[in-house]
Symmetry: C2
Subunit: 319 residues, 2 copies
């Protein structure tokens, strides 16, 4: 089968071996796969991953011995393959299972191929009303929903989102639904325009921002973004960290104590909620699609995805 493989360098392989599903796993044919910033970070050595890339997907179940009702179904799926039995899983934190492998990120081949496998309990059928081009956003949209899952955002809160990348645009749309007083700050007028069309207030980075927000979401992926976010949150406010990037930031611990600020890290989120938002058309992911490439042109697609200002690049297995 065809696959986008990473092993020090990014490679297109026409003759990768077809996967055989282990017990409890489904064989899935990829329909669409999305290129995420995490994929670009992996290419810089993040996580030390070797294998087939890709964790965003919508696919079709080819075979699922332990869940035959899934056969032929269009599905999306969670990316953390957890054990389900350790104290972390039993506590209700399976996405943090210390024994987990992660689709296309950590010791598990990913979705940028004709086929891949995933445990059946991680799969969610896609409602008919949700086309492939929306469903492929379920994983990053779930990551946006993780903010409201971990943190009570009130309709009376003043919230600032820093960053107008793919994740920032999804986060903004999810937070808008809380009724909060929302401002999104970014560097790209054409990306901010996506939000403006939905009635979300935006402004360009560099223009003065009124500090004292109840909640600030850092989604810029930069150390400068963290420093800016820290300066915008009010005493006893909350700073939500969504960016994963290499390297440390400097933090004045004393001011975190004096201002009693809360920092919350947030990663993977709830798939059923994300599917509901897509099905009920409460968020709009289509303007986030920059281009769809055939899987055969995967290397060109990655080059495009890494270019400044580019939103979501998708790969299709259809020819």
């Amino acid at each position: 089968m065809r696959a986008i493989y990473f092993d020090q360098t990014l490679q297109f392989r026409a003759d990768a071996p077809d996967p055989t599903p282990p017990p409890g796993e489904a064989l899935i044919r990829t329909r669409l796969a999305g290129i995420c910033n995490t994929d670009l970070e992996i290419m810089r050595g993040y996580f030390g991953f070797t294998g087939i890339l890709g964790h965003e997907f919508v696919g079709e179940v080819v075979q699922a011995e332990t869940a035959p009702e899934l056969a032929g179904k269009r599905v999306v799926g969670e990316i953390n393959a957890y054990c389900g039995q350790c104290p972390t899983c039993r506590r209700g934190d399976p996405t943090h299972c210390p024994h987990r492998t992660t689709l296309g990120i950590d010791r598990r081949h990913g979705t940028m191929a004709d086929y891949f496998t995933l445990p059946v309990h991680l799969l969610y059928p896609v409602p008919d009303a949700v086309p492939d081009e929306w469903a492929v956003f379920t994983e990053p949209l779930a990551a946006a929903c993780e903010i409201t899952d971990r943190l009570h955002i009130r309709p009376t809160d003043r919230v600032i989102v820093l960053g107008d990348g793919k994740l920032g645009l999804l986060i903004a749309q999810v937070l808008q639904l809380t009724g909060c007083d929302l401002l999104v700050v970014g560097r790209h007028p054409q990306k901010l325009a996506v939000l403006e069309r939905r009635g979300i207030r935006t402004q360009l980075a560099g223009d003065p921002i009124e500090p004292g927000a109840d909640v600030v979401v850092e989604a810029t992926g930069s150390a400068e973004g963290f420093a800016a976010a820290r300066g915008l949150v009010r005493p006893r406010g909350t700073l939500v960290l969504k960016s994963t990037f290499h390297g440390d930031v400097r933090l004045n611990l004393s001011m975190v104590v004096v201002d009693e600020v809360t920092l919350v890290g947030s990663r993977c989120g709830p798939f059923p909620a994300a599917l509901r938002l897509l099905e009920q058309k409460l968020v709009d992911v289509e303007p986030l699609i920059h281009a769809v490439y055939p899987l055969d042109d995967g290397l060109a697609a990655f080059e495009q995805a890494a270019a400044p200002g580019v939103l979501k690049v998708l790969l299709t297995t259809a020819s």
Copy 2:
């Protein structure tokens, strides 16, 4: 009157002017004042304070025109003199009022003197069952209670407190009351013994600690303590920051996101709760007293308080 004054250097002044209470403030005669680590930090230039030091006290109201019922009463008092009218105060966060002055810390003379003044609404009468030597701990004990006020600590949580200083010992006693599985890590066997006698499990820093705690409280006052605390908290766990010290720490933001850790800064806390714990003998502050010095020997008292391994040094105005 007599006063311990800081102006680049620490001074004992025998002829400081008696204060005149502004409208709405009480004139208070100090009975006991405590030396806090914050006082020692101020002497290193922290906060850039000039004036009479001291924010921990138990005193006697000499005069209180707007609250005559307080006259003659033994009182303790909150240290943040807030405006009560700005959005921050009205939101219920008066200890963060941007217009506040802070007793002996920021633009307000402190308690290490024969007399000082404080707004009457900051004062709490001390129950008869609480002697002066306990009451003087109300402020730091309230700061310990701020942890359970800001964070739900469950009886099923595994909690680690790093640091066996004065604040660490108070925090440990407050957290013990939640029924949680508590471990305190410190560098001083004789301080840890105070907790061991109360049935709290302790161990010396340097010995291996089982990681994966639900909550870790950083109360060492050092950058190393912060790094250690970060390594001990479980995914989705909470790291409580209690130390105020100069300088930045380095933080791997990515791992905070991946592990979805929450960092919570915590400072001044609820006085009524602290007074209840003292009155009901649910915490024991007496073993924390290292020495009581006459106010006249204030400079020697500060020298003593700054020595390694020393717990609380008190100043008395009695001769």
